[in-house]
Amino acid sequence: MKDSTAFSRREVLKSAGVLIVSFAFSPAHAPAQNGRGGTPAAAADLDSFLAIHPDGKVTIFTSHVDVGTGIMTAYRQIAAEELGIPAERFNVIEGDTGTTPDHGGTGGSSGVPRGGADIRRAAATARRALLEMGAKQLGRPASELTIGDAEVRPASGGSGVGIAALIGGKRFAIKVDPNAPVKNPAAYTVVGKPVRRTDISGKTNGRHVYVQDFNLPGMMHGRVIRPAAVGARLLAVDEASIRGIPGVRVVRIENFLGVVAKDEWAAIRAARELKATWSEGQTSFTTAGLDAAMAAAPREPEQIQVNRGDTAAAMSSAAKRLSATYYWPFHGHTSLGPSCAVADVQESGTTVLSSTQNAFGLRNVIAGILNIPREKVRVTYLDGSGSYGSNGAYDAAADAVLLSRAIGQPVRLQWMRQDEHAWDPKGPAQLLEVSAGLDKDNNLVAWESKVSGPAGPQWTEALLGPTAAGIVAESPRGGGPPTTQNLELPYAVPNMRVSACALKATPIRLSNLRAPGKIGNVFAVESFVDELAVAAGMDPVAFRRRGMTDPRALAVLDRAAAMIDWQARPSPAPQARAGGILTGRGIAYMRYKQAENYVAIAMEVAVDSDTGNITVRRIKCAHDCGLIVNPDGLLNQVEGNILHTLSRTLHEEIAFDRARVTSVDWAAYPILRFPEVPALEVALIDRPDQPSYGAGEAACAPVAAALGNAVFDATGIRLRNVPFTKDRVRSAFARL
């Protein structure tokens, strides 16, 4: 396969230090071509997914990317399992529009269930082909053969023939067969075992190459200067203001402003010191009183997603009616390393190195910006700082392309910290209104939940650089109303109404941020279920169990409760409101997107009634995502989901005024720190007979509700607005 491409991914990586002789644009590797982009993998050539080399090593090609999730290790295991070749012999080429098939971008926890399923089908197709080849070679029917230790051999024993000898270096030249027989999970020996990631060693010794580390001869360092206010126009630039900084070129394209220099520090100082005059901007909201402003804001018509029974009638005849409003704030991805890209725009073609989660999507957008055919653009993924959705990577790639085109040289463009905090597209705020009715025996008879927020985001929405430069790129606008996934009550109720409402305006750009919409939705649903349990005078676990029948749901709820030594009693705890340090426990359950992973999380907290400080002492999580591919990689993801969301719930809220985001560094936008890290324990429930669901998001969803419920149990204070800052808790105590 490597013969047909001018630079393979391996060569890209080898060159990533400093030495590279040439970096000529190479459009693509043949199998990925023929205008097949976006075609389902089942219709694709097997060779576009897998290459078996003469030395017995195997390369997997995939458009999905790792971004630190460990998903590439799972792919090695899945392919190794079907092919009977040890996982150590696999390497993966990811997210390169020149060499990998387009079977979807990374996101929405699709890596294992969709991307992994494609890899499994490809490997199963290869397995059958190898058995047939072995049958010819060994003179026995394929049905009597098996594959193990990288050879095809008789199932009954005896000598076989090596896979490398059968196919090494040659193409299969067949299509992926979606019906190729796959291995029975009961016979798995690689899937389900903890396999170490190959990238971690390099991450501990400085050899792992991130896009931020990529270097090219003749490469210039670029920085952008964003407007002083959202949507502001560039009125004047005073180039004399940076006269003392050597070797700097200013690039101005309408309202797009950047600098390039051979020396990175010169580019940084120039971007900081260049005097530019901007017009005023005006956003639709400010952070102060945002929940109330959103409630009153102009909106599109409500869209009803679930309407079961007669909720209005059941509500009016209920013995008890409760309602509450919850609020989830704008959050940033705020990647630890600011977004970065390297672009080389040449007449022969454009090459972009990016940590994009969607190389093919980015390729199309860049082709639109440059107004050239997409075949003239090659986007190659390199690891970046964790992105958790669509962070600034796409904007940075577009910025790099604009600068490279302007100067005719390769440009490495990195955002500064304030660029990332201020300008990465944000996870949208949500206003969540819930109400419910209980009958005289405290049975739940009616449920209503409604989410309002800015219209659902698309990652391609209005890239900053091209928009400022007056270029209308291929960029579909935002989608419909906020998601109602996990806004449904996950317990039995005869009458239920669930709806969503899009606000007509958003103050800042939006994109998907890890478990988009689901954390806020579960925060409202599962906090309010706790409020109902209080109204019913019941233990929160018992109240939930009453409405549950699915054994997998019950299994996670009971497991999490057992792990935290759940004491069955109604909340709040008897000592609540006593003052001093108050302790309590809370629990929350959900099934992700109402159709995927089952997760329950229990927490124990201590709340200081004088300072308002919440200390999370213990977190216990029970997690069922069906068949587990790599339990250690899965644990790493689930732990990350929980601590990332704990950070969002305790501390995070994007602040902005009428002109701009004002929380532009880690002091103004604090995140979780080590001294706050609780004892965390995750129980994985493996279901080898069930399909695998992705696990990069699900365990985020119950975190905020579990924490809020634990705080209520400890204090009797119901926190309905995130983040749960000290000030917010302290003032709630003052109101008691």
Binding site: G70, R196, T204, N205, D213, G633, G640, V677
Partner: protein, 158 residues
Amino acid sequence: MATYQLRVNGRTSTVDSWDPDQPLLYVLRNELGLHGAKFGCGLGQCGACTVLIDGKAARACITSVKQATGHAITTLEGIGSPQAPSAVQAAFVAEQAAQCGYCTNGMVMAATALLRSNPQPTLEQVKSSLAGNLCRCGTHTRILNAVMRASRVQGGRK
């Protein structure tokens, strides 16, 4: 353009800088090709750029090339190699203590400095010594386990 003599990972290198206030980070990354230290904030807030200066953890993004001159600088590349990792590096691999790994440099360097001054820290001491190092992926638990493991291994207490 002034010239500076930097002692990095035991070797002395001569580097040019047009600005004496240029942070050490860019010199390490762009002049010396040492990419272990990462740019995270440029404000000394996140720890991604941590190096050791005379054995103590320091932020390369707010230490100027002029200030660094005359001191012993150690980067991630200088504490161990892929073939012979330091105890801390090996412990991070053993615990699989990274996700994206962009903060890993800072975690390994801060832990290395901590274990030199306090070879047997308690878990709470490790937490407070890493308080200035941010991790966005939520890998904290594994990082803590890795530092505790390195402490045990270094002390011969597997």
